[in-house]
Symmetry: C3
Subunit: 465 residues, 3 copies
């Protein structure tokens, strides 16, 4: 079912070049500098429970599509806010199999087919008639030692895997991994949203905890910044090489010290209005860039998602349930304050992501093709797909080149999809380069260099791995 | 002139798959769930007057292009607001033929060539030298029984054709069709813009008529809503399965009852300002969604056109003269009030259209890939074209899949273009699927299912036909 | 290194058609109706100094990319505001050669490879190992008579070359060219930004000079407009056929005479605020359109660039240093006042450019496909690239056709890149037409007409050359 030449151009000239390029990178190790796997898996190394819990219930790419066609989240056993979750895993799997045709033409389908075939040896196409057979085969494998998290990590040839963690996290599971005799490199990423976004649930409580953990006086702006510095240092000591920032917009600010301190006071009062919270987030991006100049942590910005668009789903099932919808993002005016302060400083690496593809050619490539501190992250989320990746290369490369990009991020909590996602990214890059070579816009010898750079070298450099 | 493989990929691998897929759907009946043909044609079944009146004067796709190159609308005999219209049809046709080269690369050219060849047997390319020959041949055909509206409808293999009608329309022509012995299914669509858009010409008069027709007290908001309910029921009794809403934006609102009633009072006073009118339209979309939950009519939203951009042309020639220009449309914030009220209700089917292609991947596919009530309409108007359709599939499919789309709409008042438009849509879908199969992203057996779903099954389901 | 079929589709069917089309236009003369070469070069006809001064230091496409990867502008000898500029040209060249790989996949690479091969006979790929060899070969050539500006102009087969000039410019170099025995046609373009944009450096001083030069009373709005009329007439007498307008937005206004005069008073007072300056620029676009109706100069609008985004670079190196970043541009509401006044007047030709590709299909093609006065300029700046040009054709043609476009602009100050840029444009148009023919959307005989129209006829007509 998995053709050797899948995702390469149908045109034979481009395809054969792509296939040659792919030969060079197909077996290179996976470097995963940004994602959402759970460090506990690798710390405890217990078996994954069942096919539904592994593949469906945590994956909003999957259940949002089923939901869009009238399948209730309850029937899929998606965890609820009140802890309720009742669904027989085998029945969940049957529902999924019955609706597998919905994923035709989607990257989810590519990832799952890859995992079924390469990890579970299931070569048929999933459907209602073989649902139980798939369920049983996967269940059986999950009980074997080869399917424990660490064994999978090793068999996937993952060289390094970054998780994404709250600044309040003790990183106990990362510590446990370090303390173990397992050699897998699982590193944390500092994601301060819970303590810089006043709209975050439990924000004030989070700030209080931040003070407790660090011993800093979070009653003052200076103390608060020191507390953040302290946590960054801790994360760095635990192996982190990067921070990550998920903001509604790309707005940054560069307030003078008094104004910033006074704004922090408003935020801390709990009486701030949305406009103040937005400026505070904006200010914090610039502060974080400044700290990155100091401590060398690479900075990632993921803006532009309107979170929890569906109130009904949010109230019952909480966040990350497939109801986050992108909206237009202004990078040019938004980033200016930060860039005027730190954009010319090569000690900073700020990686920009977008959910608004219109910004590739209009804003992001021109910005990254000028500012020394900027790099472009790979296509993100809805755009982590063959067409999305191709549009990114087609729209960003002519202005930003290849060397202002940073390779691939899988950005996933679906651990089993990691090899498939990296494989898709490598294939699409090969397809793009294959076309450039076939159209005599690049020499094949150069394409061989570029594909290796895109696969391993640029990501290592950008994330200091 | 019409190659068998037109619109399929030039690449032979993709092309041969596309051709096989097309074989399966080329002769399937036409289902036209949204358009602007005149029911009177089918009620009275009289001959179309002449080639200019049939093909040029009602088609803003054609005369806007001629106008853009300096051909006056007067010289084309485009009807004027004051009833004036003087132009010899043959001379109009000659002007058109002289400028036929302007349509190179446009879908209008594809549609016309198809109609010339398949309906009139004219295989040459139209130009100044054969203008009269075309005119005479078409004129002659139009006088034959085979070219009467009902005979064309049957020969086009139209299974159902929806018109678009004012809520004040008596639907007398629809009734006449029903009363006739002709079996063609022509159904109305409830388009309430004249009575919900306070910016619509004659709005207050329309409201008054609405009250008269329904016997409801339109002096109160409740009575007004009941009047709308009543007309919806009437349309439904006449065969309607859908409503349609042409708004400047996608803004929706969910006002509490008192605020809504009070706003209606302002609107009815005739002294409302544009901001109030916009909120009223927004509120009415949500009310209409609620009524759709009640009565099961599928709801269509066509937002984003700035109507009558050219004041000079509007003053002399009125609306729909090729001077409606799209502008950016925000679906994410705009639709939220409606979606939070009805978006999770599978009894509602809300089909979204756009003139802003940037929303395909950024907003529409993520929304339709989550909310059970949402579906994506096909590429609309300027984007009802080979490149436009291909971009839609490329940009929407990976997130929304195929099954959150609803097949094709011809959306036309150009009756003779209907077979050509559906043929183009089928061919482009075959071309897209052909590429997916050639790139091993979909199995050919699945593509055969998908192409049939796209051609007939999805449209029947979405529009309850 | 330069393949005969470069930039044509990899697919052999499309490619062979493209190649045939290209045969027809490859050797046609170059018509360059919009660019930024220095008329002094052709007036004085002295040798270009050295490879760095010719190819690197004036070309922001090149040094912005190097800068984005940490190469300092100082080390490249980019001229500084204070006149400082110290860098050994050979060393600059070596830095450039070392970083030549950064341009992989960019149009700059295509242009340079073309110039190296076709103008300097350097067939190898530039790199660190042959940097000196390239430097020496280019240096030697630059000292030969064949590499003087006029000789290059002739050898490039340039039929006409337009420069872009301040309304305060005496056009002395244009006069010197006219007075010489050289037959090359170098014409000025009237670009009034320095005297209509109150945000322009030295604006009030410029207005004063405008009064001095023309003898008009610039203290009144009427005198100011007359002064502009006078300069337009002078430019026209010097061969100009067009004006050019570089505005932050596409906003236009149509103020009544008193309001306009009063606004001019505010502007002239030096105390105007940004909002007033924006409305004044908007008003001046409409005034300029009116003057174009009078004097027949074709009008060009280049909106949407946020200039000098990087304050640090601007302070040290001044404008045009690769730090101008596009942002979204609204044409539909912005242009309405101007279009309602002059859009239906065929005496006006207003050519629209954009840096916001989303406007191609959404706004620009619908506008140009309706208004007689509008035409679409070719892809501009960051989009003057193979992918950018292809997107333009794919997104604009179906609505605007080919005949509402105006051929190619090289828009460059990099004189040696002119043949390469026109060659890329011709090739991409051939590739696009080749696909249309291969997909049977256009007949090959028609494509031969279109490619010649795109290459020479449309540009001559639009710019009255």
């Amino acid at each position: 079912m998995l053709d050797e030449n899948r995702l390469f151009s149908a045109d034979s000239a481009s395809r054969s070049i792509a296939a040659r390029l792919y030969e060079k990178v197909r077996d290179l190790p996976i470097i995963s500098p940004h994602g959402h796997t759970d460090p506990r898996w690798f710390a405890e190394d217990t078996a994954f429970p069942d096919p539904a819990a592994l593949l469906i219930q945590p994956d909003h790419y999957i259940f949002r599509m089923l939901y869009s066609q009238g399948v209730s989240l309850e029937s899929l056993g998606v965890p609820q806010v009140d802890g309720g979750q009742k669904a027989d895993p085998r029945e969940v799997w049957r529902i999924f199999a019955r609706h597998y045709y919905l994923f035709r033409g989607t990257p989810t389908r590519l990832w799952l087919d890859y995992a079924f075939a390469n990890q579970f040896g299931l070569q048929e196409r999933l459907g209602p008639e073989n649902a139980d057979q798939f369920y049983d085969a996967i269940s059986a494998k999950l009980q074997t030692p080869e399917f424990r998290p660490r064994a999978l990590f090793d068999s996937f040839k993952i060289q390094v895997l970054a998780t994404t963690d709250s600044p309040l996290d003790s990183l106990e599971f990362h510590q446990k991994i370090k303390d173990s005799d397992w050699k897998g490199r699982v590193i944390p990423t500092f994601r301060p949203d819970p303590v810089v976004d006043a709209d975050f649930i439990g924000f004030l409580d989070n700030i209080r905890k931040l003070g407790e953990i660090t011993g800093e006086n979070i009653g003052t702006y200076k103390g608060y910044l020191n507390a953040l510095r302290s946590r960054r240092a801790f994360f760095k000591s635990m192996g982190a090489t990067a921070t990550d920032h998920g903001h509604p917009t790309a707005l940054t600010a560069d307030l003078d010290a008094d104004t910033a301190a006074s704004l922090y006071g408003r935020i801390l009062s709990g009486r701030s209005v949305p406009e103040e919270q937005e400026i505070f987030r904006a200010q914090m991006l610039t502060e974080m860039a400044g700290m990155s100049v100091e401590d060398g942590l690479t900075m990632q910005l993921h803006p532009g998602s309107i979170r929890n668009h569906n109130q009904v789903v949010y109230d019952k099932f909480g966040r990350d349930k497939g109801a986050d919808i992108p909206s237009p993002t202004d990078y040019v005016r938004g980033l200016r304050p930060l860039l005027n302060k730190y954009g010319n400083d090569s000690r900073l690496t700020l990686i920009l992501f977008t959910l608004d593809e219109t910004s590739y050619s209009r804003e992001l490539a021109p910005l990254a093709g000028h500012y020394p501190a900027l790099r472009l992250g790979p296509p993100w989320w809805f755009h982590d797909s063959p067409e999305g990746m191709m549009r990114f290369r087609e729209q960003a490369t002519e202005t930003a080149g290849f060397y202002n990009t940073v390779g691939f991020n899988d950005d996933t909590r679906a651990f089993l999809s990691i090899p498939a996602r990296h494989d898709v990214a490598r294939r699409v890059d090969c397809a793009f380069l294959g076309r450039l070579v076939a159209e005599h816009r690049l020499e094949e010898a150069e394409a061989f260099e570029v594909i290796e750079d895109l696969t391993v070298n640029l990501v290592k450099k950008a994330y200091k791995l």
